[in-house]
Point group: C2
Chain length 227, copies 2
């Protein structure tokens, strides 16, 4: 199964998972994110890859946790990884929550791998996108569900993009034929990419460095953006 946000990384994961033998299930989440537009991308990608099942799960995170990503109107950071600080778009424990739901879904449906498009190279610095986090979640997954003696099968989190740069992801995805035009990265929640938020800038840099044209958006400005 694949955690499918609708962005570049999860789309690449979907392409990777679809090369396997078994059926692929995709899970997407509406958790109060401003850029709920990404869900439309997730749906289109799921259809394109003919997944066995695509479930959209509503979680009331915006009422529970504090983040610029779930608070419309609050400013979005424009530069990633400044002085190692965690940007305001970090959603507390979000990936733990999404992976835990995925774990329950995988156990219920007999799926043994969860593709998770976390990336710790060209990323925003979120703690729950790092290799240590993925390792700790895998250790949890071994204990959180039915063990082999109890009729269960091991479920593993697979994070194939963890140590790749955005340019490498663009190259890999292009090789796999990922329909980039269907993906969505911008955090801002507008109808077109804002070209200024972290997600837009990381995307633009990835395409530029990979020497691939981004079919979705017009060129993204990379100079200093107003705060």
């Amino acid at each position: 199964m694949v955690l499918l946000s609708g962005g570049m990384d999860s789309a690449t994961c979907l392409a990777l998972a679809s090369r396997g033998a078994g059926p692929v299930h995709a899970l997407s989440f509406v958790y109060g994110q401003r850029h709920v537009r990404e869900l439309r991308s997730a749906q289109r990608l799921a259809r394109r890859y003919r997944v066995e099942a695509h479930r959209i799960v509503r979680l009331p995170l915006a009422e529970l946790v504090r983040s610029a990503l779930t608070r419309p109107g609050s400013p979005l950071p424009h530069r990633s990884r400044r002085h190692g600080a965690i940007p305001a778009t970090y959603v507390p424990a979000r990936n733990s929550i999404l992976l835990a739901v995925a774990l329950g879904y995988a156990e219920s449906h007999g799926l043994d791998r969860i593709y998770f498009g976390a990336n710790a190279i060209d990323y925003s610095g979120y703690p729950d996108c790092r290799p240590e986090f993925v390792r700790a979640f895998n250790a949890l997954a071994r204990r959180a569900v039915r063990g082999p003696r109890e009729g269960g099968r091991p479920i593993r989190i697979v994070a194939p993009l963890l140590r790749r740069s955005k340019a490498e992801i663009v190259r890999l995805g292009s090789r796999l034929g990922v329909p980039w035009a269907l993906t969505w990265s911008c955090y801002a929640g507008g109808r077109a990419p804002c070209r200024r938020c972290d997600a837009c800038r990381l995307r633009a840099r990835g395409f530029r460095e990979a020497g691939v044209a981004d079919p979705t958006a017009w060129p993204v400005r990379l100079g200093r953006a107003p705060g």
Copy 2:
């Protein structure tokens, strides 16, 4: 903060947490459980202990995972821990999901401890109630949220009842003055305890062995129950 289901164990955790200096927040979940009646108990307990905040979180788990606990009408097991099998009331990855949401809430509200009433002695055998699970979740919690260098403070899962028998929990809770009459254990979803499900039987045995009268329910049959 306390994960407050409304049962005996979480009520005892609430009593323990309330003895501390700081404010106590409680989180309860409507996840499609048949015994949503327990939420009324959670609300009464939260009021009784004058918690700072009590949030009831809706999660659509019943549509995502398979369990007798979220499927009205499916039979409930009447004997706990038969041959080490996991009973049908196990909800896949439920405690991982609830703790992950609690983790995000705790980080957002500056709370550093999550009381979790898991018990691995007189319990139904669920994998996510065992010491290994609690240990693995704590290891995850250290990596899943902002670290000390990033302006975060460590958040710890505290499971004070993990290695206590139900009778010991009854004795501890009675000493702390837990209002047992406000708690709810039965899984069946009726207006009165069914007296036959695992939860009812574990409760009855705990009170009997502790030599304490259960103020809520009439005596629970402990003989062999029809399958």
